[in-house]
């Protein structure tokens, strides 16, 4: 990457504009690009029918997960598991329909918990299978030191090996292109069918094992060991094999475990109290009470929520190398965004043609058109487009014809900083950087009208780029004809997104290689909070460290090798898939779409993950109130008839009350699986509004819902002929 990020060449697959109002995890849907082979396919819609089928399909897996060594990982579910075992023994020793009903529903509770996890994992497995299919055993053409080539199995390649890949062949491993240039089909990983260009040197040198070379040939230096390639890591990630509990998940598990211990004590203390009071309780009843009280809902869904969170990222075509990074995304308070390609379209466009004072407008238009005919850069094309609109059809046809008549194109070079055309009649037309063209004009005997210089200064101070157009007829002095105003166009909708981020408490900083004046103008137009102009990689690093020293978490995107240190330093570093392998190695996430705007979605997904956990924890605990009112009077109403006053739901009999509570407790897990897979709705807003809403929905809702649910189940249970 050149020191100025604004000049990052936009590779064909990085320019897909990804903007618009659709924002926020669950509502996010990509636009029109149909991705048949894409990873997102498997998780696109979650209709109830699909979910029901998925649940049924996971039943065998859920039964397998009854293994105590597995259940142990969730302390809450483990307690249910032990309780189920106890009631089973009790039901065998002292059979009754009540004991067996409770036992069956307790085992169902454990199974439902396992199913939730299995469904979440299953979706990842489907994605992994797609990936695995691409990882066929390939043969690599390894180049020996003497230059000859030998065929070896891809699995035998080691770091530093150099392989030759010809058209139609699969690249045998991750590496960097050291020679040549090729179009590569990366649809296996990205789902994007349009091929991308990979070439040696620069920022487009990284290739991924498992992708296919379509045309030309490249020589690749292998950078990863077999089994540790990008695809291998992707498979491990989406399958959940590499899943480790994230810091917040661990902390929540500790809290849930503590609550469980408190309830175990509370229930164990009941028995002596009950004996004293004169009504010993059966094991079945005590276990039923315990299972209803411990936070089974969140305990059962916790790992599903975590897996689904990673999965949601994959649906957005983002690979997180650790769950920790996903959580950190929710905590981000500073977002560093490259201007080019993220905030603006990345290429400046001609917005205006200004004729030099006293000259007719058509002259500068024609000259600009001519000078840009050969310019295939987006800027050049935009000039042709703008100027073409201002010309009559026949004029345009005449000008288009000059190439056939033997005109010579003058390419842009970094040295001359201008381009143009030399017509056969000797006329030279030039456009380019103002000082370069002005010098060219004065070198050829022409003067520069002061009006032009004023225009140039005006455009520059407004943040635009002025290009000066000049021409020279044979035998005459050169003449400066006018100025082209090139503007960096801010993508539509960015201002709104930054406003949303501000509401979420996230500060956006625009990083640009532009001069401060230009940067300020674009920053104001896009509505970012701050900007870093004329940014070097060192500046970027310093900014990140400064933000972190203030206790802020920083997220950024990058694709170049010189972004790698900053990517590694930032808390959430997202590398573009088109970027170098150094960048991908340093980052903790890779965006397969190479869409820098994705960072905003990633933050939302991170927040949604935490909110889902918090909301279901609150819901789970709030549920206990109703369960107490169902079970406690049922347990002791014979002893203390007055306790029937606590039976505010009016449940029919003590046994149906207890059974209904247990059934509700089991079914609520199934009912909440879709929510835990999808994540709770998250709209970017201030934290107090968010808290109030979630307390209302999941706290108050969690208090009320079981009163209704248990009552309804009781109505059914009490009408069963038992």
């Amino acid at each position: 990457m050149t020191p100025s990020p604004t000049t990052t060449p936009s590779s064909p697959d990085a320019t897909a504009p990804h903007v618009g109002g659709a924002h926020g995890g669950s509502t996010h849907r990509r636009g029109d690009s149909v991705r048949e082979t894409s990873l997102i396919r498997s998780g696109k819609a979650l209709s109830l029918g699909t979910l029901a089928r998925q649940l049924v399909a996971t039943f065998p897996e859920a039964v397998r997960k009854l293994d105590p060594r597995h259940v142990w990982h969730s302390p809450v579910v483990f307690v249910v598991w032990i309780g189920s075992l106890l009631t089973t023994v009790d039901a065998v020793v002292d059979p009754s329909w009540f004991a067996w009903s409770i036992t069956v529903w307790l085992w169902a509770t454990v199974l439902f918990a396992n199913m939730a996890e299995a469904v979440a994992e299953g979706r990842g497995k489907a994605q992994a299978a797609t990936l695995r299919a691409t990882r066929t055993t390939t043969t690599a053409q390894r180049r020996r030191a003497d230059g000859s080539v030998e065929a070896v199995a891809a699995s035998d390649l080691t770091i530093g090996d150099v392989v030759v890949v010809r058209p139609g062949e699969v690249i045998p491993g991750d590496g960097d292109v050291v020679e040549g240039m090729a179009t590569v089909d990366e649809s296996a990983i990205t789902g994007e069918s349009a091929p991308v260009i990979r070439e040696s040197g620069g920022d487009r040198c990284a290739v991924t094992g498992g992708t296919t070379v379509l045309s030309d040939g490249i020589t690749v230096s292998i950078t990863t060991r077999p089994g540790e390639t990008f695809i291998d890591r992707m498979i491990a990630l989406v399958e959940g094999a590499a899943r480790q509990k994230t810091p917040n998940e661990i902390a929540l598990t500790i809290l849930l475990t503590t609550l469980t211990i408190i309830f175990v004590l509370a229930v164990m203390a009941i028995q002596p109290l009950a004996i004293y009071s004169g009504q010993e309780q059966s094991v079945v009843v005590l276990v039923a009470l315990l299972v209803c009280l411990i936070p089974t809902t969140i305990g059962a869904l916790l790992s599903a929520i975590g897996i689904a969170g990673m999965d949601r990222l994959v649906q957005h075509n983002v690979l997180a190398m650790s769950g920790r990074a996903v959580e950190a995304a929710g905590d981000v308070s500073t977002l560093l965004l490259d201007k080019t390609g993220t905030i603006t379209f990345g290429n400046r466009r001609a917005s205006e043609l200004l004729a030099a004072p006293g000259l007719p407008g058509v002259e500068v238009t024609e000259a600009a058109y001519l000078a840009s005919l050969a310019d295939e850069t987006p800027e050049g094309r935009s000039i042709v487009e703008l100027a073409g609109r201002g010309l009559a059809d026949e004029t345009r046809a005449r000008l288009d014809g000059v190439r056939r008549e033997g005109a010579v194109l003058v390419e842009f070079t970094a040295h001359t900083r201008m381009s143009g055309i030399d017509l056969q009649d000797g006329t030279a037309v030039r456009k380019g950087a103002s000082d370069a063209v002005c010098r060219w004009a004065s070198d050829h005997g022409g003067g520069v009208p002061s009006g032009v210089l004023t225009e140039v200064a005006g455009i520059a101070s407004s943040g635009g780029t002025p290009l000066v157009v000049a021409s020279m007829q044979p035998g005459e002095p050169a003449r400066v004809l006018g100025v082209i105003h090139l503007k960096d166009v801010v993508k539509p909708g960015m201002k709104e997104r930054f406003a949303q981020l501000r509401a979420m408490g996230i500060r956006t900083v625009m990083i640009t290689g532009d001069n401060p004046l230009t940067a300020q103008s674009i920053a104001a137009e896009a509505g970012v909070d701050d900007f870093l102009a004329e940014a070097t990689p060192e500046d970027k690093m310093a900014l990140i460290k400064k933000e972190q020293a203030g206790g802020r978490l920083v997220a950024m995107t990058g694709d170049g090798t010189n972004d790698a240190p900053a990517l590694a330093q930032s808390d959430v570093g997202v590398a573009m898939n088109t970027g170098t392998s150094a960048a991908k190695e340093a980052a903790n996430m890779v965006d397969l779409d190479s869409d820098p705007t994705k960072l905003i979605d990633i933050v939302s997904i991170g927040k949604q993950l935490l909110i889902t956990r918090g909301a279901l924890t609150t819901f789970s605990i709030a549920n206990d109130i109703a369960k107490y009112f169902a079970i406690i009077p049922a347990m002791f109403v014979v002893l203390f008839p007055g306790l029937d006053a606590l039976n505010i739901m009016g449940l029919s009999t003590p046994k149906s009350a207890m059974l209904s509570a247990v059934i509700f407790n089991a079914l609520i897990i199934v009912a909440l699986i879709p929510l835990s897979l999808r994540g709770v709705r998250y709209r970017p807003s201030g934290s107090t509004a968010l808290l109030r809403r979630n307390i209302l929905v999941y706290g108050l809702g969690g208090v009320i819902a079981p009163f209704i649910g248990i009552k309804l189940i009781d109505l059914v249970v009490s009408h069963l002929p038992l």
Binding site: P247, N248, A251, L252, I254, L255, T257, T258, I261, I262, F263, L265, A266, V267, M268, A269, I270, P272, L273, I275, Y276, S277, G330, S333, M504, G505, I506, G550, G551, K607, Q608, L609, L610, I611, G614, A615, T617, T618, I621, A622, I625, Y628, I632, F636, F640, P641, G642, L643, L646, Y682, G686, S687, T688, L690, L691, R692, N694, I695, Y698, G699
Partner: protein, 548 residues
């Protein structure tokens, strides 16, 4: 004036007095614990004890100092009580060794559970050199721990959380002693006795004879309330006319036991540099206290209008309202002084007093312990609420991660474990159940109240239950010791973990901990945590009794 009007007026005067007093007192305490200079008398103490007041301690050193000081306190007090018979001024006071240990632990842990009768169990020497000393230093220990935790939140680097010896000395010399002197003078003016006279033998109206003890009552009374101690000079505690003769002294005593706990939130707000945080904690404490006062008063007033009347166990010179106000305040502050017998309250009134203890002594809690107890619950609330706004939870910019939530969870686990386990054992162990006065649900409440009172360092007794047996003395002592010091060590560890964290800046995504929404959730968490933990037991005790 009807009881209702006078009752409401009493509460209004109390609230107004607290509102007026908490501002200067809260600010003064903030200055006390940040002052760079030492008073001359303090420097003398440091020199005598060979303490370097300018050095600060890490949390572990701080904790060792707290534990060391307290264990030595227990040993000294136990020895003093055990040897009181052979020491001067014995006056025939004796105590069993298990009772002596219970008493020693009780006063060092700021519980002041009294298995003995105040006037006959201890000699004036023990009262003065032992109990009174602990009445000052045990609340000062609580104050020190609370301040250390606040430092953990307020500072944003380093590992030190203050110097325990400095905090202890300053809390005693600059806060408790001056206030106790003022309180004692006011109580003296209100008619509380203060003498060194020998016991007086009088002939009663019915012709019998009675020995009436005198003593240095007013001075002990002031610090008994002020330090949320609760150990009375007389067995009848604040129901005794020498300790609490009039409605005025009753109001003064309630004021004294509430004033420091209700002022500490302001100290907290000042020390963390955000007064609004203090307001939230104050609002939390005041709401819970208000709810409990309302509940107990409602229950007692309802019972008083019933066929049995509501004055059983209450002093007629106070009446129902001031008795209920005292009961809710003493159980909410871990004081444990009583001006009426909670055993005789209606089922719901006594249950209310019990629930007030089971909230974990945060309404407003004991001196220091109320604030750190409330802050533990605040961290828990922040954890749940923080997740719900999509951020790693943080309190005042300090993240609540794995270590922090573990410490908070363990600290909050201690008290319920002790209460539930020992109540459970007590209900089926004959050597406990034989000591109950009542049978049925009321007997259950007696035992549960005793262990709740001990584990929460409250010290009030439901009466009825005769706790002076070796088993109950030792188990209650264990509850008092673990209920006090396990949370203290965990709180200090939390302070150590927080102090090392850099404070994160506040932005729109941060969960504000000073809004009414947060405060509401804060109160809700406290009630739900206690409610869910103890509902089954309460259902078999007070609820079953009330609904039968």
């Amino acid at each position: 004036m009807s009881d209702t009007v006078s009752g409401l007026l009493t509460i209004a005067v109390l609230v107004a007095a607290l509102a007026a007093a908490h501002v200067p007192l809260g600010s003064w305490m903030a200055r006390v614990f940040t002052d760079a200079r030492h008073w001359r008398v303090e420097r003398l103490v440091y020199r005598l004890c060979r303490v370097d007041p300018s050095s600060e301690q890490r949390w572990s050193t701080y904790a060792v100092a707290v534990l060391g000081f307290s264990v030595v306190g227990v040993v000294l007090l136990f020895t003093l009580i055990a040897l009181q018979g052979v020491l001067p001024f014995a006056r025939g006071a004796t105590m069993n060794l298990d009772t002596a240990l219970n008493t020693a632990v009780s006063f060092v842990t700021n519980t002041n559970w009294q298995s003995y009768a105040g006037e006959s169990g201890t000699s004036p020497l023990v009262q003065t050199l032992g109990l009174t000393v602990q009445n000052f230093v045990s609340p000062a220990v609580g104050l020190a721990v609370a301040v250390a935790l606040v430092r953990g939140l307020a500072r944003s680097s380093g590992a030190e959380i203050g110097n325990f010896w400095v905090d202890l000395v300053r809390g005693t010399v600059r806060v408790l002693l001056p206030l106790a002197v003022v309180g004692a003078v006011v109580l003296l003016l209100g008619g509380v006795i203060q003498n060194l006279a020998s016991p007086t033998e009088v002939t009663t109206l019915s012709g019998g004879s009675q020995v009436i003890q005198g003593g240095l009552v007013a001075s002990q009374e002031a610090v008994k309330e002020l330090g949320t101690n609760g150990g009375g000079y007389f067995n009848a505690n604040s129901a005794h006319p020498f300790e609490n003769p009039t409605a005025f002294t009753n109001l003064v005593e309630i004021f004294l036991l509430l004033v420091i706990p209700f002022s500490l939130p302001r100290t907290y707000g000042i020390l963390v540099g955000d007064r609004r945080q203090g307001w939230t904690v104050l609002g939390f404490m005041a709401t819970l206290w208000g709810l409990m006062v309302a509940a107990v008063t409602w229950a007692e007033v309802s019972a008083a209008s019933g066929p049995l009347g509501g004055l059983e166990g209450k002093e007629v010179r106070f009446g129902v309202w001031p008795s209920a106000l005292f009961a809710a305040s003493t159980t909410g502050t871990s004081t444990g002084a009583v001006n009426s017998m909670h055993e005789s309250y209606s089922a719901l009134g006594g249950g209310g007093a019990l629930f007030s203890i089971l909230l974990g002594e945060v309404s407003p809690g004991g001196v220091g312990s109320g604030l750190y107890g409330a802050l533990l619950l605040a961290v828990l609330t922040v954890f749940i609420a923080g997740l719900m706004v999509g951020r790693t939870p943080e309190l005042l910019g300090k993240q609540v991660g794995r270590r922090e939530i573990t410490l908070v969870a363990l600290a909050l686990l201690v008290m319920p474990s002790l209460v539930l386990v020992f109540t459970g054992i007590g209900m089926v162990a004959p050597l406990v159940s034989s000591q109950m006065l009542a049978s049925g649900p009321h007997g259950l409440t007696e035992v549960m109240y005793a262990y709740a009172s001990a584990a929460n360092n409250n010290g009030s007794a439901f009466a009825g239950f005769s706790a002076d047996t070796p088993y109950t003395n030792l188990t209650l002592a264990l509850c008092m010791f673990l209920g006090r010091f396990v949370p203290i060590v965990l709180v200090l560890a939390l302070a150590g973990s927080l102090v090392a964290q850099r404070r994160r800046p506040v932005n729109a995504g941060t969960l504000p901990t000073h809004t009414p929404t947060f405060a509401g959730l804060f109160v809700g968490v406290a009630i739900i945590v206690a409610g869910l933990t103890f509902f089954p037991a309460l259902a078999l005790g007070p609820l079953a009794e009330a609904l039968s």
